[in-house]
Symmetry: C2
Subunit: 278 residues, 2 copies
DNA sequence: TTGACAAATGACTCGTTAGTCATTATTATA
DNA sequence: TATAATAATGACTAACGAGTCATTTGTCAA
């Protein structure tokens, strides 16, 4: 298990520098100081490795941003916090962000493309819920355009500081983008992306409906692995709540809070927040 | 020479579908109905092919947009025409645009990365000159941000219609982006990218200063190849003008107009417009 | 028809890579 | 200490791809 993490860390560095295709398993194992055979004890294939990396970081990223959007009460702060957290995350995990940019749309692996689409959709959902909350009916016609504008901002500005070695002021950048986003939200009158168009783009959303049964499966897996008592009990209680709702919303929310910051529970926490509508 | 074009066309299709790395020379030659050896009669290597493709399309694209920006007199139309031409070009050459998106930042080839950066800088220059003309001192503090916003819009909206099979209304999209750009230009007060920052990003601009001597070299090459009498004479006169300015601006402009629409002269025409400041 | 020249071919070389598996080293258990 | 179980190794295979070059095919002038 610890070996798996080592491989993921070292591979991340190489992928960010050279790209996925251009990095051989040989190189990865050398960089880890292990043998080639040892690699295949942890991962069935090179593809499984990149998939694990994508999953690991995207789950972390999405759940982090989603938590911020759900738990920032002050509307005035929300957009700033959203941008700040996004760029801060890109900055902290810049190697992963680089891979994301490089492998964008690329990748021969079909499963990977689907996964990327899936996370992209999730992220769009988070943005959309934020926009709807902040601007309400004001952006009824233009909210889908706003999503793409926000994504466009994130894309260009990320590329900028990921691929040049210029130190960046996340605070200043976020403030600047908050102003731009507000401007567009409040004054745009000519929409391009209608709801129909938006749904057409997002058609293959099916991938992992993440229904009750799937959440249960993931939870059982984690409960087995978990050693910390508080987190473990919280997980068990939440699992029971999932099977048969008996606890009050306050208790459920508290239990979620217990597991939220455990590195292995962020994703479960995100799924449950969605399921319990908290 | 005609073989070269065939290879470029067929390779473009495959690269757009599968990516550059994932496409073998074997596949390209099979798709062309020629032998592997024949490929190497036209191109020294696979890298030379992708470089030729990038050069071919980027020259065409940049010079087209530059011409529009320089020759649209009505400021009210300019931004619309800019967006329209951009998306129209992406649409017409969607296979190339796909490659551009996929190979973005990627690519092991150093020469290619430099070339891409170079064209990126040229495109930014065109955008900047347009912004300065349209908004003047109004955007003194925010013009560099505006460049990246425009590029961000282009990026997200292109991805959208390049990788989903939804038919697009370029007219509507352009109008929508014109409004957004105007909003940002007129009301943004919080800049993020200062002039210093902008220059830091663009540091390695050196690549092909495209000075007089280089233009001359390209011209001599083209003069030899050219068969059409009017274009040929225009080129010869322009070459003389480059060596020793004797003609009036009106005549020079007319000569440029003569060659502008010849598929092989667009790039020269662009370089000369810059050199003669027309 | 012939011979000289150019165009085109594809079998071949050489390097590289993902993935396997018989063998060896390490650790746990009795 | 002996034995079993598990972890780790790296030489090996099979496949593929870029680029080469001896040979064949086509063209055209004499």
């Amino acid at each position: 298990m610890i070996k798996k993490q080592l491989i993921m860390e070292k591979a991340l560095e190489l992928f960010a520098k050279q790209g996925f295709e251009a990095t051989s398993v040989q190189q990865i194992t050398e960089h880890c100081g292990i043998s080639k055979g040892a690699f295949y004890l942890s991962f069935k294939s090179k593809d499984e490795l990149i998939l694990a990396l994508i999953n690991h970081f995207m789950m972390q990223f999405i759940s982090e941003i989603d938590y911020i959007v759900r738990n920032t009460n002050d509307d005035k702060e929300l957009l700033y916090k959203f941008y700040y957290a996004t760029f801060d995350s890109f900055h902290k995990h810049s190697d992963f962000a680089k891979i994301l940019m490089k492998e964008q749309g690329q990748s021969i692996n079909k499963e990977l493309i689907l996964k990327m689409h899936y996370y992209d959709r999730l992220f769009e959902t988070v943005i959309l819920s934020m926009i709807e909350r902040l601007y309400g009916k004001e952006v009824k016609q233009t909210k889908y355009d706003l999503i793409y504008c926000i994504k466009g901002f994130m894309n260009t500005y990320s590329t900028l500081f990921l691929f040049s070695n210029v130190p960046l002021d996340v605070n200043k950048l976020s403030k600047s983008l908050v102003e731009k986003t507000n401007l567009l939200a409040r004054h745009t009158t000519v929409p391009f992306i209608s709801q129909e168009l938006f749904q057409m783009f997002n058609h293959p959303m099916n991938e992992e409906g993440t229904k009750k049964e799937q959440i249960l499966e993931i939870m059982e897996q984690k409960i087995k692995e978990m050693v910390e008592p508080i987190e473990k009990e919280s997980l068990i209680l939440l699992k029971e709540q999932l099977l048969e709702p008996t606890l009050s919303p306050a208790i459920v929310k508290g239990l979620l809070e217990n597991i939220r910051n455990h590195p292995h529970c962020k994703w479960i926490s995100y799924l449950l927040r969605g399921y319990f509508k908290l």
